[in-house]
Symmetry: C2
Subunit: 219 residues, 2 copies
């Protein structure tokens, strides 16, 4: 396996392009999501092999749920199926999202507390029915501010650590609401390939680039 | 002048690479900042000609002030000089940053209230001794939350609107704490050139790319 001078501790993944991929492969838009599960599992295995400590997948957002219901149902199912497939693979799983909504899949409720499967070798975080505004306002709405002067310590996603590298598939160069606090100092790497066309060479390309970036944390 | 199908309403500018430029031109690191003023003025004039409504410059941050004092003094002076040069050019100026610190240049205090020069044609925002953590915690520290349930409405930078396009010079692909709330849906365009080597062709390259991006605001 390829060696790197320096690896990110925590990778964020924005697996975009499922609908565009579906359309360019003669499928209906919502059929793309099911093709995004195996790529995620392979990227998970790669991170396990490399010894990366934490990864966070952008499942779906509160913004996304305004889409047609057949799409909403398809990406909800893809998130549930992805978590199901992760179960026997030594992940330390946390699902973060607004559970006070019928759009949050009930099957994932148990994992809103971090849950170790097997050896629990990597922290894997899934954002499911996540909203940046919900995340940041969580300490206010839940009256948690007495316990902390710093709002960023009490946010809904406070169980997710600072991100070093964000990989976005599908060519768009934006965060689209992905964990604004944890992404403050992250390096962004954009892949023009659609997420269902993921392969390891794409991840290696990002890691090769990342190893030569300096880390300043704003200093 | 080149025409665009669609222009950003609000551009964020991260003018990075001043120190690297200085070193590669046989100067001391801190000498780079003075060479970053005229590029900013030219980009301002270009935005004025194009009819762009708002621009925000990343001056310096609380993180940056941990650097050697000759650098701190140099970037403080560059910010003051830049604002001085803007004065007779029809800007609608707002300086945002932590004024409760000796590192905030006193000369800029009057502009922490938005100030129209001449016709006030473009909103120009300068982040000076800015910190993302300071920004987000502002409503709590100043007991402003009673007036608003949504923390993002009371942040210190609430006079700065949502950003459509962020241009970063100097090749690094990261936000480095730049306005996390306003950058949520922004498109990022990275220029590998150092900021003192700015020219209009670089800005055009970014605008040509931007006009073909879709705007989804997370939807």
């Amino acid at each position: 396996m390829e060696k790197f001078k320096r690896l990110p501790q925590h990778i964020g993944i924005i697996p975009d392009g499922n609908r565009r991929w579906a359309q360019s492969n003669g499928l209906n838009k919502q059929e793309g999501y099911a093709h995004g599960i195996d790529p995620g599992l392979d990227l998970y295995r790669l991170c396990l092999e490399l010894g990366i400590g934490e990864m966070t997948f952008y499942g779906f957002t509160v913004d996304n749920t305004k889409r047609p219901s057949e799409q909403t149902a398809a990406f909800q199912k893809a998130c549930v199926d992805a978590v199901e497939k992760l179960k026997d693979r030594d992940a330390d799983l946390l699902v973060v999202g607004n559970t006070n909504s019928p759009l949050f899949p009930k099957e994932l409720l148990p994992y809103t507390e971090r849950t170790k499967f097997g050896k629990g070798l990597i922290k894997v975080n899934f954002l499911v029915n996540y909203g940046w505004n919900w995340d940041l306002n969580y300490p206010i709405k839940n009256d948690l501010l007495h316990s902390s002067e710093d709002i960023t310590k009490g946010i809904a996603s406070s169980g997710i650590s600072r991100i070093d590298l964000i990989l976005r598939w599908g060519g768009r160069r934006r965060l689209s609401g992905f964990l604004p606090i944890q992404s403050i100092y992250a390096d962004f790497f954009i892949l023009d390939e659609m997420w269902p066309d993921y392969n390891r060479e794409q991840a290696y390309r990002a890691l090769r680039w990342y190893q030569d970036q300096d880390v300043t944390l704003g200093g």
